[in-house]
Symmetry: D2
């Protein structure tokens, strides 16, 4: 019966931590342009959330000499579910052990993916305490919609670069109960990208093959995605980004994989951020067969319509690699 | 552990059957205006689906002298989950027993809610077999997007009228594992409306107090909802409905409950259909506390912005009642 | 040939002045919620513009004990055109004479409509001088798009209440060359509303019958309209207005007349402001026959789809009348 | 005074004729995908219109062995205006003389631009006679909104390739009274593109430098544009085009010039068609100074945000040239 429960044991993406060498620029981007709210500061870290994120924070920004991924935090479905998953992860040898907690949450169990992305799983979270002047009549919304920038609504997913997506995918499926929703498979059988979820979202987590380096275990971040749900907001944001000299890497465009209408930008600290402009599609089928895109279908998998993706999309991640080993072709 | 599994045992709304006294009008509405696809016919029934519904059908339209609800069909999360739920429902005394199946699915266990809405739960489903000329490069979409009308994407939820929402809600929570997401509570503690789900959607199922009659057990339908996900499509549809003399009861508007941007129309057979134009919000928190709207907050619960709802919204359901007992005030 | 030129002699709505008893509230509304830019202050007046208004200002807000219309300013097509129009207006007896100018423009000739709405016509205007940090790469836009509120793009039109729209309409057609685009005609031949323009816009100016008073010559304002051009922005604005307790009188909805998707709100000073969310339709036909809506078609003329309009829409204007004489029915 | 009238003498783009070697494909595209209505056929020609085009037709499709431009038809502001323009054009030596008329309009005066694009100017037009089952309650709309494809609303503009935009621009300004709204100027002073209009639209007509050939006088077509006014419709159309194997050349994207949100596709006959998804901006200023984009600003002039344009955009026109002379760089 543990087996039956496994696929329900992780409930959601709770938060992500990113590193930035330019905290002022990064905070300006998330607060003034994406309309996020600063909740708290401690040491070199600032805790932020979108206006429909219910917990204390969904993004932790930590100053560091290089951009990159701090960690990814998953919330279990219950205290029991947390215990089940920790037991399995520990058995797998990937565990780093418990931490006491952080601002906004209690004890969390940390671990590494095969490619050394740091993650944690937890149960105890603090809910956002809304100041009186920010409460709204809309009782299912934790605060008023901000009037700054083009405000994102919630954190959506994280996309990680890896030397080989397959073992990372297998780890998340076997130890944490993730479901494979879509993948792009090369002619030689290797996976170029895998999209995984624990909910009807097509992904809270993706692993893509790092084409910028052949080194293993770098734990590189491709992007963190925030969600709008309305296509117009990508257009609004595009204008503001252009007028404030923030580099739009690609989009607005529509992916085949996940049907996401989206765009990619680099925040001033150097990390790639995706903005998600519609709902994509949702998977309710409990017996879902992963959608398999062949190498020959790669073009439509990546871009259903809209701009082609630049080379940087496939090769650039954070931290940046010193001397990128460029794959031929 | 059964208890831990219960809340995951129902996976999704599979399909809804409605009755119509005007099958030609009803089919024209769903096919030509909402762009749905006719899949099969048998006897007095026609089976339809939206272009992103993955199974054989999501809507069964059956000729009958009066409009109303045929039945609501839920898909379990697994064969085991089906067995667990059937055992519980049978014990509760609400069971009607197994049927062998129908076009598009295998054996299903039927039962009645306390207010006599007919439902079923099943596991075996047929997937839609797309004709060659309708297949699409978008591999996560079961057919091309239709070029007729303003095509809906998938079935979303069903809303049922009841003499008292509370016991109906309790039944679905206790026997089928639904979660209460939001409710409107009168000053006397009675519930005016309850919104329930088994997924991050705020509701696949709602019960609202029937203000058009005080009779019990009528099994009346308030509406079936189909999903667009894009606000513009409500505007597009509004124009077409107006130009084709289909009555728009209300909207486009935005509910406080569920944050749904939506509109309500009566299909030619007389049933109310809701069209859902954005994503509302999604609930990923595994420890969600139901949002409670007080009677004094009713106005914002019902309409966050946009048109007020006409009296018919609260009193009219299908089948229509002969001599409506109108509640005062 | 003067006759051939007349219909081209007025080029556009240049600006509108409104009165407010609550300048702080009014300025907060236009600057923080509608994202307008304060350009200059003098005496009791503040000059504002939308981010795609090219001139010094499009809205002048003047403190006064009651809300209402200050004046409406039209820009002529040329210096010659200005002279031609002034000569005709003066002959008609409606002229008030020349003023030297105001902040943002040179000499203007002032006059009164038959119902005493104060207007002016001018040629010399100052263009907005954009501060260096607000200039944009988009060379056809006079400043960056603001990141406050949901910013309006330009002034669109003004709608005036009158005891009888017909003579006001005739005055604007005969003396200023306006074209009648649409009108609603009662069974007795009287006009309930008239929509006039000098450009492909369906209206820069409307006169509606004042159903809140039978007094003549009050010069009442129904509303000033600002333009978004994108339907989503009405939805965005609706959320923000609701969360900041600004009264939405009606909408978002779609008018039959002018095909405008729009909404109406009261700014804190009490004046009604319309927000225009799409493009309506444009009239390029030089031989346009006015669209005539009969009394029996009134419903669709007013609301093509969406919310019905409340009684206040037909009776409330600024300044408010002390003891409204309510027309029967 | 003739001089004062000249800039008002042309009122609008009336219709465009294109040639197609694949009339079945071309008609399928315009009728089934763009939702246009076939009005009449004669000889090798089919006459079509969008659902908000008021006249008999806005597009004439004529079978020919090669795609390309048939002619562009302008409507004068009055009979007098027509006479004035014909007199001037005749004097300029560009006139081809009067034709008796065509289906949908009366006598027209034909002429050639310096690069041999065939044009005509006319006054007498037939209005679309709507069949009874297509009339709408929306009295300012000439027919119901179609329920096929993603229906375009009206013709918007035409863009022509020329060996040198400057003399073509000068001809249209001097002989027909067009206004220069925006242009891109090379470092050597030559114009790469010019956008001209007779209304607040930024352009009904553009000339771009033909980078696919250095031959003069070819009268090549770059594209004809139809208007939606709603960004979502570009997304809807993109899906349908992709699923029906119609090549999207570029977009959706946003131009700097004209602020157009748009996309480009090749209809099956080979002509490039632009779809215009928002309103861009409108020019009401009667003293407009043309926006001048320098060569160094070319990138933002062409793409404000969204996909870069492929090489074909600058070099491909219809008819296609046999051995394109490719300009270096």
């Amino acid at each position: 019966m543990n087996n039956e429960l496994k696929r329900f044991d992780v409930a959601q993406l709770a938060h992500v931590e990113i590193f930035t060498p330019d905290p002022d620029g990064t905070l300006w981007f998330f607060k003034d342009i994406l309309g996020m709210t600063e909740v708290e500061r401690e040491g070199q870290s600032v805790y932020l959330r979108s206006y429909e994120d219910f917990y204390h924070h969904s993004l932790k920004v930590t100053e560091r000499n290089e951009p990159g991924l701090g960690h990814v935090s998953w919330r279990a479905s219950s205290k029991n579910a947390l215990e089940r998953r920790v037991e399995e992860i520990a058995k797998s040898g990937a565990g780093l052990g418990w931490i006491e907690g952080d601002l906004g949450h209690g004890a969390a169990y940390q671990f590494l993916t095969p490619d050394n992305h740091k993650m944690e799983i937890l149960w105890d979270v603090d809910y956002y305490k809304c100041p009186a002047d920010q409460t709204t009549l809309l009782k299912n919304r934790p605060q008023k919609r901000p009037t700054r920038g083009v405000p994102v609504r919630r954190i959506d997913h994280v996309n990680l670069l890896s030397s080989n997506p397959t073992p990372n995918k297998q780890f998340m499926m076997q130890e944490l109960g993730f479901n494979l929703r879509e993948h792009v498979v090369q002619n030689d059988g290797g996976e170029l990208g895998t999209w995984l979820s624990v909910s009807p979202l097509v992904h809270e987590l993706a692993f893509m093959k790092d084409q910028g380096t052949s080194e293993k275990g770098l734990g590189r971040l491709h992007h963190v995605a925030f969600w709008y749900g309305f296509p117009q907001h990508l257009h609004d944001l595009s204008e503001i980004l252009t007028e404030h000299n923030i580099q739009i890497e690609a989009g607005p465009l529509k992916h085949g994989v996940s049907q996401a209408m989206c765009m990619y930008v680099f925040e001033p600290g150097g990390n790639r951020i995706e903005l998600f402009g519609d709902s994509g599609y949702l998977i309710f089928d409990p017996d879902w067969k992963p959608v398999r895109w062949e190498e020959s279908e790669l073009e439509k998998a990546i871009i259903y319509y809209g701009a082609p993706l630049p080379d940087s999309y496939f090769k650039r991640g954070t931290p940046q690699v010193k001397a990128p080993v460029i794959s031929e072709g």
